[in-house]
Amino acid sequence: MKKYNIQFVLLIMLLATACSSDFLEPTLSTAKDVKGSVASAGDLNSLLVGALDVLNGTTYYGRDFVVYNEVRSDNAYSNGNSGRYVGPAQFFLNPTDAYPTSTWNTMYQVIAPLNIIINSSLEDAGDGAVNYIKGQAYTIRALVLMDLTRLYGQHASGGTLGVPIVLEFNDGNIYPERATLAECWAQVGADLEKAVALMNPALNDGSVNKVNSWTTKALQSRYYLYTQEWAKARDAAKAVIDGGNYSLASPWSANNSTDAILELAYTPADNLGNTSLQFIYQATVYGDVPVTQDLVDQYDANDQRKDLFYTDTEGETRTKKYPSSDYLDAVRIIRYAEVLLNYAEALTQLSDANALAALNVIPNQRGANVYGSATINNVLLERRKELAMEGHRFYDLMRYERDIVKVDPNQSFPDEGIPFGDYRLTFPIPAQELLSNPKCAQNTGY
């Protein structure tokens, strides 16, 4: 009898360890299954916040994308202090390099959550909240596609290809082809228009750290410069100016100034630290990106913006933009000064009688000499002066098919410069993309 008892106990022990079926069910502590996680305006907003967080990462607006457009111009160079931006500054990139690869991936990573928002079956409850968020998503998607098209599209290298346009999350098409430049620009324009239609300005909450209806308008004024639809650019810019929500602030103002339309914020608990713009622009232990003397020389003696430069202990000239050692300077995506310049440019192109007055708004405010005529060269010069080191210069030159000219011995590209149309003016499509996507073509020359 005793023996049977023991055997019975043993049997129970064996069975007891054959736990319940959820023994093998894993815990998810920092993530949720996609299914059932997009069910409210709040969920959509979480995705929007997530997209903004990727947008302000180091490999995109947090640093790299801004720096690419300065070190590839006459504004700045790379001293290679920490080995950073040497390749882009030399116009020397390989498809396997980290810069083209990580920025490509990051840009599409921003688009992924936006596509979930845009294609969500969630209907607006009538208060406009869901539509507003969708409009915000359209605006950012337009911004990202515009950047993708500029960085990887073949405008500056004489081709017609843009980038793959992805409008749905996880739609099963894992081999998207590159659209043409025209198709890409059309998609950007359509997204911006859709955004304008979806966003009720009454729901704008005044934050410059997120997209509101004015952001969309301001971006439209930039967009139409690229498509050379000058009248539309003028109208979009004018709408922002007439809206009266913004005004010029000091040449480099603190975060959240009257000049800010969209700027990406950082917090003490969430900033880029040594991978920030501050760390690369200022004389820190990285400090790879000083400015050229040529840029400093553009400013009149009385121009307030001339004070935005200093010489560090090594004798290199640096910008005072993005100066904060707590890394809390918000990244300027679009600000009122640019809208004023977009307006002036559109008027100049349209030979509008008010063009010169529009162009001189900013120099007047900055204490600089005013221009005598509204010419494209003057517009470009004023854009260079006002928007220096904010990631605009390279594409301003490319829009007008200018060559990249060597203006400073510290610039490391060949002395003869890079003529417009050269393949090096376009980033290579990452090798990793070509490998996994047979339908994606490489840019000429790489």
Binding site: L14, F23, V49, F92, V166, P176, A265, N437, P438
Partner: protein, 1012 residues
């Protein structure tokens, strides 16, 4: 079995003795010990030569025997040891130490689920001799496996003491899933790798918690037959550790101490000295076109060199006084009913880089008790505390001392006139003298292992046993950067004022096993053993961490004191495994054996429908030397052939990978956000392997034993990170695709060249030939293979995994001094335009294709000398940072120093030179990825030399000491690399990348062992 035979034979012997006792006799007594560790050997047969008279030794190894006048010598024999004959002469006390008999097949194989006699074992296993892993001055016991086990290859990811090592048994079983073997200690699967949040600053391997001197036996299981019991966890091989237990008898106390020095195993790359660098500086400016000639350059530019300073930064970062020391004390004893083993150990080892240090305090309590006749219980508790002070490593961090010595110019002084570190270096690297004093890269680890086993003999033939193992690990990491200089400083205008990051990672793992064993003999020719095992294992991991910046004062290290807390983290994760296993052994006539297992295993890493897999193994062995028809062959000793086949799974991937998730780890402007975390794959399931193994184990001439083995392992449904178009928002997706085969031969041979009482000479060797090939890969929509590439390697069909693929360096253009590459990536036409050259397979991969070891031991009258030579070749290593250190002027004068061999460069048309024209800030791409940076990684290394003396027991007994020995040992004493360009240590991490990690160590120690 063998024990019963032993008892029987000794009883018989005693009976016989009683019959043949003569009148004139004397009494001889003494003690028998093991030559290897000096431990007492109980149960040794002591027989008077030429007679059947004899006795067996007691539990303390002593014996007493009445010897007739005509008895001239005694024969001492014991299973597993060499029989030894001793002339009695007129002695009455004869102490003998027996050497392990390596010419016999080891008697038992420890499988972790019990022991099997070696003859009946159908799988492939190697049991390591204790002398190969005990008292070796290494922090992680796995370091002593290299060269001692055929088929096993170890890669050193870092030489920082305590760092985990990468082990590959029989090649790569997987491409993206785990390749690491399972460690099992006292029947409990261990958590391996490292238990920490970030690997930026090296890593602390959790196995370093184990004190090798507490280990009784170490067995490596290699084929599917042998590892079947462990299921998927064992698919990359299993390393079985049993720790020391108590023994019946009076208490035995052992004490050992070891002390010695630590150095670099090899010197490391020689860099340009100051004069060379200075000369190249001006030349590079002229070559760039800034100046017309050198004189012009010297007149108008300044290299910054004072003309005197010439620093070898290799010496600066090195701790020339680094030591290693260890102390171990153990006591064991017991009676018929219970026994115990208690130990305490302390070890310290300094790394060769300044500031690097490792300390371990470990203890162990093992206790076992018999309750009644049928029930017994035992428990082993192994707590340890490890402290590691490491460094930043693995990349060109400014604070990494291994980067500092490659990058910092020889023209910079290490110290100022007042002896303080020079903080004004020309390069961006930080002075390691200051950093090692003021920054902290620390890990503290507490590990408690507890294993409880209970067995109950239900009947003679039916046995139940239950094992519960708990493994608790708590690792605290602290990364602190001081506020005055280095990573915590930033710039004078914008001081960061120091920064800190601290993490606590806690891991709890339990494993619960219940087993039923049933033994059934049909008749004397047919015997069957059955086993059923149920096992459940679960792991919980919890991380908390915080960090910030801005300290008000020095000597404050923790988040509590920072001005700005800039991160906080907390997360949990878990995994679990559930399985049931059935095993049958069939024995025919005691010399033919058949094993079969079937295992059903579930793993939480897969979705509900794909969680469970069924695996099996089948093995057989035939001891043909026991057959009657072989008995006439005198030179043949125990020999067998064996074969096994089995299917196992591998689930060694990240957690939750099958789920399509939104990740909630993002925040923007204080608001929590979500982004698509992973694409997921509901179809994800087991990676499968089918492996077979055929071997012959032989013994000949009573002197030589050996094994020749062929293995073949096909892995299919690989858990592959398939590259995905970045346009999806993801770059990879885990899929079950592709196939890979590892196959090869293993040879091992052991021979006793000389074996007499006073002089013994043994030589052993093992050699492995390995062939790894990817045999199938996924294809894209157009049917093209989706290879998995890095900038220097590719995974592609028909090649070994991670085959090197890059541009091929074609030297320097004699006329222009431009770098050249082969247009087609192989041969023929060359180009000086980097992008015009094609990428091509360059042969070889990071995985060695041939490796092996030779070891020998010579013993003469208690003095012994042993050595172990290891060779490995067939693989290549890639010099990751040579883009900077071999840049021909691109980075030499603003970022990093160059290799000394850069001095030999092209200067004028007609020069034949290995290095191109030296041009300041050039864009020639000469330093870009190419075979110029790919080295043959073959090497030969003297891993271990040991000279010692075992004091004779007769001498020691007078001072009440039972054993004593003294020794001198060196590890990694000498290294020869095949490629003269390979100036780094050739024991490269498994990826083949030379990544600025702390170098492996050379140690020289002296030790003393005493037993009471």
């Amino acid at each position: 079995m063998s024990k019963i035979l032993l008892k029987l034979s000794s009883v018989l012997l005693l009976l016989i003795t009683a019959n043949f006792t003569y009148a004139q006799e004397r009494i001889v007594s003494g003690k028998v010990t093991s030559a290897e560790d000096g431990g007492a050997l109980p149960g040794v047969n002591v027989v008077i030569k030429g007679s059947a008279q004899g006795t067996v030794t007691d539990t303390d190894g002593t014996y007493k025997l009445t010897v007739p006048t005509q008895g001239s010598s005694l024969t001492f024999s014991f299973i597993g040891f060499q029989a030894t004959e001793v002339v009695i002469g007129d002695r009455t006390v004869i102490d003998v130490s027996l050497s392990a008999d390596v010419t016999q097949l080891s008697e038992v194989v420890v499988t972790g689920y019990g022991q099997r006699s070696a003859n009946s074992f159908t799988g492939s296993a190697v049991t390591m001799d204790k002398s190969k892993f005990q008292n070796i001055p290494v922090t992680n016991l796995e370091q002593s496996l290299q060269g001692n086990v055929a088929g096993l290859q170890l890669s050193t990811s870092s030489g920082t003491p305590g760092s985990s090592q990468e082990i590959r048994i029989r090649g790569l079983s997987s491409i993206n899933a785990s390749n690491e073997p399972l460690f099992v200690i006292d029947g409990i699967p261990m958590v391996t790798g490292s238990n920490q949040q970030t690997t930026v600053s090296g890593n602390l391997g959790v196995l370093s918690a184990i004190n090798a001197n507490d280990i009784e036996s170490l067995t490596v299981l290699k084929d599917a037959g042998a590892t079947a019991l462990y299921g998927a966890r064992g698919s990359n091989g299993v390393i079985i550790i049993t720790t020391k237990k108590g023994m019946e008898g009076k208490p035995v106390i052992d004490f050992s101490v070891q002390y010695g020095s630590v150095d670099r195993a090899i010197a490391g790359p020689k860099m340009l000295n100051a004069a060379q660098w200075d000369e190249l500086y001006y030349e590079s400016l002229v070559n760039r076109g800034y100046y017309t000639d050198i004189a012009d350059a010297r007149a108008n530019d300044d290299s910054g060199w004072d003309g005197v300073t010439d620093t070898d930064w290799r010496d600066v970062v090195k701790n020339s006084n680094a030591i290693t020391q260890s102390y171990d004390l153990s006591i064991r004893g017991g009676n018929e009913k219970s026994n115990y083993y208690v130990s305490f150990g302390y070890m310290q080892q300094e790394g060769v880089n300044i500031g690097s240090n490792y300390e371990r305090i470990s203890g162990k309590v093992a206790f076992s008790q018999k309750v009644g006749k049928k029930f017994s219980i035992s428990n082993t508790l192994t707590p340890s505390y490890v402290s590691q002070l490491g460094q930043l490593e693995g990349s060109a961090y400014f604070s990494n001392p291994d980067a500092a010595y490659l990058f910092t110019w020889s023209t910079d002084k290490p110290t100022n006139a007042d002896g303080t570190p020079n903080l004004n270096l020309g390069t961006s690297t930080y002075n390691p003298l200051y950093i090692s004093q003021h920054d902290i890269y620390q890990r503290l680890q507490t590990r408690v292992l507890n294993a409880t086993t209970a067995t109950y003999d239900i009947t003679d033939k039916l046995k139940f046993s239950s094992m519960f193992g708990a493994d608790y690990l708590s690792t605290e990491g602290l990364t602190f950067n001081n506020k005055n200089y280095g990573d915590g400083f930033n710039s004078p205008n914008d001081p960061l004022n120091g920064s800190t990051a601290m993490y606590v990672t806690r891991n709890f793992n339990y494993d619960f096993k219940n087993m039923l064993d049933y033994s059934y003999s049909i008749n004397e020719n047919h015997k069957l053993d059955f086993k059923i095992v149920y096992e459940a294992q679960k792991n919980f991991n919890k991380i908390t961490g915080s960090g910030g910046q801005g300290f008000a004062a020095d000597d404050l290290y923790y988040t509590n004191s920072v001005g700005t807390v800039n991160f906080g983290t907390g997360a949990i994760s878990d995994w679990s495994i559930n399985s049931i296993l059935g095993l049958v052994n069939y024995t025919f006539k005691g010399n033919v054996f058949v094993d079969a297992t079937v295992r059903r295993e579930g793993n939480s890493r897969f979705s509900q429908g794909n969680r469970w897999g069924t695996f099996y193994s089948f093995g057989t062995s035939w001891v043909f030397s026991d057959e009657k028809f072989m008995s006439g062959i005198q030179w043949l000793n125990t020999s067998k052939i064996r074969a096994s086949i089995g299917k196992t799974g591998n689930a060694g991937i990240g957690l939750n990978e099958y789920q399509a998730t939104l990740s909630y780890g993002n925040s923007y402007n204080g608001e929590a956000g979500a982004t698509p975390g992973q694409l997921g794959n509901q179809n994800l399931s087991w990676e499968n392997q089918v492996a077979y193994n055929v071997a012959i184990d032989f013994g000949i001439f009573k002197k030589i034993t050996g094994t020749v083995e062929y293995f073949n392992r096909r892995t299919y449904d690989l858990l592959l990170n398939v590259p995905l178009s970045g346009t999806t928002g993801f770059t990879t997706q885990r899929q079950n695709l592709g196939e890979m085969v590892n196959k090869g031969f293993e040879f091992s041979l052991n021979t006793d060249l000389i074996s007499t009482e006073n002089f013994r000479w043994n030589v052993g060797m093992n050699f492995t030939m390995l062939d790894n090939e990817v045999t199938d890969l996924p294809v894209d929509g157009e049917g093209n293979e989706i290879g998995i590439t890095t900038s220097t390697t590719i995974i592609t069909k028909g090649q070994p995994a991670n085959a090197y693929k890059m541009r091929k360096w074609a030297g320097v253009d004699q006329q222009t001094g431009s770098p050249l590459w082969y247009n087609n990536g192989m041969d023929g036409e060359t180009t000086s335009t980097y992008s015009a050259a094609e990428l091509a397979l360059q042969g070889g991969s990071p995985l060695p294709t041939k490796f092996g070891g030779i070891n020998t031991r010579i013993e003469f009258k208690g003095i012994y000398l042993s050595g172990n030579l290891y060779a490995s070749y067939g693989n290549k290593a890639y010099d990751t940072w040579a883009a900077y250190t071999q840049s021909d002027g691109r980075f030499t004068f603003n970022v990093a120093n160059g290799y000394a061999r850069q001095y030999e460069r092209w200067q004028k048309p007609g020069d034949i030179s290995p290095n191109p024209k030296n041009v300041f800030g050039n864009t020639s791409s000469s330093g870009s990825n190419s075979t110029r940076r790919l080295y043959d990684a073959g090497f030969l290394r003297l891993r271990n030399v040991n000279v010692g003396y075992n004091f004779p027991a007769s001498l020691l007994s007078k001072i009440k000491i039972s054993t004593a020995s003294i020794y001198l040992m060196g590890t990694n004493l000498w290294t020869k690399t095949k490629d003269p360009l390979m100036e780094f240590d050739p024991e490269v991490q498994a990826s083949g990348a030379l990544s600025l990690n702390a170098p492996p160590l050379k140690t020289m120690v002296m030790g003393v062992k005493i037993g009471f």
